[in-house]
Symmetry: C2
Subunit: 105 residues, 2 copies
DNA sequence: ACTTAATTTCGATAATATTCGAACTATGGA
DNA sequence: TCCATAGTTCGAATATTATCGAAATTAAGT
């Protein structure tokens, strides 16, 4: 018998994206910073993006970003690689993420 | 001596708009509904937009919308006329408000 | 002046969120 | 198998926010 793979994260389908929740997710400075870094870097592990913050705090924020559909996380070995679901976001909310990400400060 | 006019609302200048606060303001369902109605109607008084909600609650939400720069309020007689500061928003955050307002649901 | 209408401010309560340490889980080596 | 690494989950403390009634404010009308 095969072992079940490590329980994958639930990434909501585009049809379940909710505008209010997305805006809320992006209204937190820590999360907006995460999203900006992911935009610059393309992808990054959770650990790379903590600014000295505890892991539990970061994990909390990543979960919110995943829940609203902004971030995709895949497990590679023991690290979780995160990236923005830009295409999905753009198909559901055209122009919105771009309009936010052009704001660099 | 002239009486001072009724203390006007403080409407922040465009330079003081803060992205995170704007996103936060729009992440509340009641406030997003207000903004959508203002977009449709062009302008409206506070009373026109309560959905049966208490006035103090509406006043709270309007203040937040004013504070982030989304809404302009002018006193006309005893009513407060509200409208969206679309041009100001667009100059500070190009495309952002539009990308949100095209989402009608 | 007095009254009404529209809204704001105050104060309290309830609901939500953020933060973070500690314990737990999964994966990859030694 | 034992250990280290990377994250997650749990639980509790703190902080923010939403909601709403009651009282205060402002302007207009009588």
């Amino acid at each position: 018998m095969y072992d079940l793979p490590m329980r994958p994260f639930k990434h909501p389908p585009v049809s379940e994206f909710v505008l209010e929740r997305l805006l809320y997710a992006l209204s937190d400075p820590v999360r907006l910073e995460i999203v900006r870094h992911l935009d610059e870097l393309g992808e990054a592990s959770c650990g790379e993006l903590d600014g000295g913050r505890p892991k539990s705090t970061m994990s909390h924020h990543f979960r919110i970003l995943r829940d609203v559909g902004l971030v995709h996380t895949q497990t590679i070995g023991t690290t979780h690689m995160n990236s923005l679901r830009k295409d999905d976001m753009n198909s559901r909310f055209p122009g919105l993420l771009d309009a936010i990400l052009v704001q660099k400060e």
